[in-house]
């Protein structure tokens, strides 16, 4: 990998700048109406750099990243599939980029048509009755979903239902979301095969139950086989079922959350529908609901009157949980998801779940025969699976973290490590459908090679990575001696 790059501030010289990009100076008189007491006295200390050195600096920074475009990125529960270039190119057509969010519907029929059709396609592929597109991330969709569950119980005068049940293997956002919605979290265990412990669930249910949040396939990489029974007893207890769509890619085109009995779901469009992750965002966390929760969907929605599309707001959805973003959520991300879904169509959508599952089961089978331990060896993998390195940790003193860091040297992004928390020394591996057999085979070779190193030369693995721009970083120092903004070193 390329060498480290200095900070943009270290390139700065007083008086330098990308002058060609600046508008003409209107002169001091143009600002005469701004009262002195409200004016800034000292200019902000932004870097003063030219255009070429800016381009070079940020291009070099980009080269310090692993990404889907450059590396296999088998990060479990993140669905790092190829982001088709067409989705970006056609979402960035100049008219789409220039459109103001508060512009009239007469100048937005093209956008609104795409969003309306996206709502319809998402309904079809998930088996839900209504879809809202405005949540701006998975966790934002979770928030909308749990807020709708609360609003539903409240609208029925069922005010004491404030408990949200989550399995212990759930993503951290599930309990955090429940808290943000003013709910109390009750965690329940999973059984030895990775399914929800039905007895524990039955014991947790009661008159205070607002609902349960489930990921299916779960974060353990297996399909929840008792889902029918779970839905039945939760509904009988007066609770609702929330589907965390983190793993929707596994079942796309094969099973629909609506058919499993879920009342509300969120979809991570940046996973299943291949919009980019962008180094942490933007995402889009569209929500889908059954008929019971449809009156509570967040606004704005997109409606259709005859041939005209229009925004639906408070007047159309009076019981809505309200607005979640200043405007229409991440419209540009929604366009990318729309383009992706149209490219795939009915046939492509069905192949996604199939080939994601094929790749995961193939990779699992190859790793098992290479001597690695599956966390749930008796189960089929979904679109992802867990390898546990607890034997290597015990016998060789080489941990899952060490394997993860060494994989970087072999040119592979590490799988998700140490999640879910209940499997010791775990790697959660999700190859996605867009990777070829050749890439999966190369990954198995790298894992086998690292295993050999761990046995013969463990120091090589425990001190990895060796080829990255930096070695292992001191996280404790980062948190204790906080250095969160750059300050010029004072001349001594």
């Amino acid at each position: 990998m390329p060498a480290p790059e200095q900070l943009i501030f270290e390139y700065s010289h007083a008086g330098r700048g990308a002058h060609d990009q600046w508008p003409h100076d209107p002169g001091a008189a143009a600002l005469a109406d701004l009262p002195a007491k409200l004016r800034r006295v000292r200019p902000p200390e932004l870097p003063q750099v030219g255009e070429l050195e800016t381009v070079r600096h940020f291009t070099r920074l980009s080269q310090l990243n692993f990404s889907i475009d450059t590396h296999f990125y088998p990060l479990g529960s993140c669905t790092m599939k190829y982001n088709p270039k067409a989705c970006n190119q056609y979402a960035m057509l100049p008219e789409f980029l220039a459109r103001h969010p508060l512009g009239p519907e007469s100048h937005g029929q093209g956008l609104l048509a795409c969003l309306y059709e996206l709502q319809e396609m998402l309904k079809e592929v998930t088996g839900m009755q209504g879809v809202a597109l405005s949540p701006m991330a998975g966790a934002h969709g979770e928030f909308a979903g749990v807020a709708m569950i609360r609003a539903y119980h409240r609208a029925r005068g069922d005010l004491k239902r404030n408990e949200i049940i989550v399995p212990e293997a759930a993503h951290g956002t599930n309990p955090a979301t429940a808290t943000m919605c003013g709910c109390v979290v009750r965690e329940i265990p999973v059984d030895a095969h990775g399914d929800v412990d039905l007895a524990a669930l039955a014991a947790a249910l009661g008159p205070n139950t607002a609902g349960i949040m489930l990921t299916n396939p779960s974060t353990l990489g297996v399909f929840e086989r008792h889902i029918g029974e779970v839905a039945r007893i939760v509904h009988e207890a007066g609770g609702l079922l929330y589907y965390d769509g983190a793993n929707l890619n596994a079942i796309l085109g094969k099973v629909r959350p609506g058919d499993m009995g879920f009342d509300v779901i969120h979809m991570n469009l940046h996973k299943t529908f291949s919009t980019p992750h962008g180094g942490g965002g933007p995402g889009a966390g569209a929500v889908g609901v059954g008929a019971r929760l449809a009156p509570f969907l967040p606004i704005p929605l997109v409606g259709k009157d005859g041939e005209r599309y229009r925004w639906l707001t408070e007047a159309d959805v009076p019981q809505s949980i309200g607005r979640l973003s200043a405007f229409m959520g991440n419209a540009g991300v929604l366009l990318r998801a729309y383009i992706y879904m149209r490219l795939l169509g009915r046939e492509g959508m069905q192949r996604v779940g199939e080939y994601a599952t094929l790749n995961a089961n193939y990779l699992l089978a190859r790793l098992k025969s290479a001597g690695f331990d599956a966390a749930y060896p008796q189960r089929r993998a979904s679109h992802e699976f867990i390898v546990t390195l607890k034997r290597q940790a015990r016998e060789l003193n080489v941990t899952a973290m060490d394997f993860a860091k060494r994989l970087l040297d072999y040119g592979f992004h590490a799988p998700t490590t140490y999640f879910p928390l209940l499997v010791p020394e775990c790697l959660l591996i999700e190859p996605t459908e867009t990777e070829s057999k050749d890439v999966l085979d190369a990954f198995v070779s790298a894992m086998s090679q690292i295993q050999k190193e761990a046995e013969q030369e463990p120091g090589r693995v425990t001190s990895a990575p060796h080829t990255m721009p930096v070695r292992r970083l001191d996280d404790v120092r980062a948190a204790r001696q906080l250095d969160l903004t750059w300050k010029p070193t004072a001349p001594s």
Binding site: E5, I8, A18, Q21, W22, P23, A30, L34, L38, P43, P44, V49, E51, F66, S67, I68, P84, L93, A98, H100, L102, G103, G110, M136, G138, F143, G172, T173, T179, G182, I227, R256, D259, G279, G280, G281, G283, S325, A326, F327, N330, A331, G332, L335, L343, R346, E354, L358, N361, A404, T434, V470, R472, L473, D474, D475, A479, L482, L484, T485
Partner: protein, 457 residues
């Protein structure tokens, strides 16, 4: 097209390795009655040429009108370099930088971003960004409840002059946790929050005061007096600011004697296209004392085992993946790609370029106000100074005029009658450096003609 590279031979070999005959068998743990029967409601696949044609038609249907709407989303010149670099696959298709060694590009960029936001706002520390300005404002209110240990009330004072959508998002986001948002009146002559109106809260337990500068009307609030009043009553100040304006206006860190406590805002003006409302990013900055109460990702600089500097996500003990139900927020996004654009934009602008942009935008807005108020029946609504947008009052309903203007390719501003009925026929207009004198003249001439015709009718 499903972007699946497998050949038939690959599939056969893979199934043999797994030990099943067909892909279908891999789904044998799923109860058969749950299996999808039909996806007939989905359209047939398109190829790239076909989708290109469809999207081009759709984009054309939206048109390319001349836009004078602001109201929280602003059209600015975006240098070509910004998105040419931002859409590089290494930024575009990377994940959250959990594996620090393989993500130094994104991490260093966020560290540079945090530094730039801290300097622009005059605050000590910034996070890696939030979803948008509205959600950042809601999170700031929740953060204030955690940070203000002297207050038990969770009462947040919100001026009516705050963007009305921000107020709604704050209620949606925080009301379930017991926060109470109380509206402060504004002066209908000046368009700002009168400091004297706060006296009725003297002696009450209030957690935080929100101050938007410039406010939703474009007017400039007396931020020093508002901040000092709040601090005199142990109330935290949440500043909501337009980042472009900060090149010219006093940064929140310098408001009053002690400065604002939490600063948030919509980052869109910093190199992000309007794109119908998103993706944008919210920024958030605060005092070092409150850094552990801040939600969202934070990047820190540290050393590697060889003693070289490097960057990593830090203070993660605040976050949902560690603390679960007790986290500061459920957020696990930072709007990384938008932050990438903004950091490149701020580098290209620098202090001078950003000040030039703010000044040019403001000059155009004054030219627009001067032009439109020459039209009979149009006058400026408020007496306060404003920054790059302003409220006009018309002598007749705004909506029909805006419709007629739109049919002539001009989006003339935002009709405020639904938001602020007490202002009568009020129109919020904005111009930035992207508008020319000819554009403004075209708007003035069209409005003049339409109003004359309306008067004659």
């Amino acid at each position: 097209m499903a972007f699946i590279p497998h050949t038939e031979a690959d599939v056969a070999a893979m199934l043999a390795t797994i030990g099943v005959a067909r892909i279908e068998n891999l789904f044998d743990e799923i109860p058969p009655d749950l299996r999808v029967k039909s996806l007939a409601g989905l359209p047939q696949e398109l190829n790239e040429m076909e989708i290109g044609r469809l999207m081009t038609e759709r984009a054309r249907a939206d048109g390319a009108p001349l836009t004078f709407i602001g109201a929280g989303a602003y059209e600015h010149h975006i240098p070509a370099a910004v998105w040419a670099i931002t859409t590089r696959g290494e930024f575009y298709s990377a994940y959250t930088p959990y594996q620090a060694e393989a993500s130094q590009g994104t991490l260093q960029l966020i560290y540079e971003f945090q530094t730039m936001i801290a300097r622009l706002t005059g605050m000590e520390v910034a996070n890696a960004s939030m979803y948008d300005g509205a959600s950042a404002t809601a999170e700031a209110a929740l953060m204030a409840v955690r940070a203000n240990r002297k207050s038990k009330s969770a009462r947040i004072l919100v001026p009516t002059t705050l963007h009305p959508h921000y107020r709604k998002v704050a209620v949606t986001t925080a009301a379930n946790q017991g926060l109470k948002f109380e509206e402060l009146p504004y002066c209908t002559a000046e368009g700002v929050t009168p400091v004297a109106s706060l006296a009725r809260y003297d002696g009450q337990d209030i957690t935080a005061l929100v101050i938007q500068q410039p406010n939703f009307f474009g007017c400039l609030e007396d931020v020093d007096a508002l901040t000092d009043w709040a601090h005199a009553h142990a109330i935290l100040v949440i500043a909501v600011v337009n980042p472009t304006s900060l090149a010219l206006l006093k940064p929140p860190g310098e408001w009053g004697a002690r400065g604002a406590d939490i600063t948030v805002g919509e980052g869109q003006p910093l190199g992000v296209p309007l794109s119908s409302g998103g993706p944008y990013f919210g920024f958030m900055a605060t005092r070092m004392d409150y850094v552990r109460q801040m939600p969202g990702r934070i990047v820190g600089r540290t050393l590697d085992v060889a003693g070289h500097a490097g960057f990593t996500l830090t203070l993660q003990a605040r976050e949902q993946h560690i603390r679960r139900a007790r986290a500061t927020s459920n957020i696990c996004t930072n709007q990384g790609l938008l932050v990438t654009a903004a950091t490149i934009y701020m580098s290209l602008m620098g202090p001078q370029g950003l000040a030039r942009t703010a000044a040019a935008a403001h000059a155009r807005a004054r030219e627009l106000v001067a032009g439109l108020t020459r039209v009979p029946g149009v006058h400026l609504a408020f007496s306060s100074p404003y920054f790059h947008e302003a409220v006009l009052q018309l002598d007749r309903p705004v909506a029909p005029l805006l419709r007629s203007l739109a049919s002539r390719g001009i989006l003339g501003g935002l009709d405020l009658s639904g938001y602020f009925p007490e202002l009568g026929h009020a129109l919020l207009v904005c111009a930035t450096e992207t508008k020319t004198s000819a554009d403004i003249d075209r708007y003035r001439a069209q409005l003049s003609e339409l109003m004359q015709a309306a008067r004659a009718a």
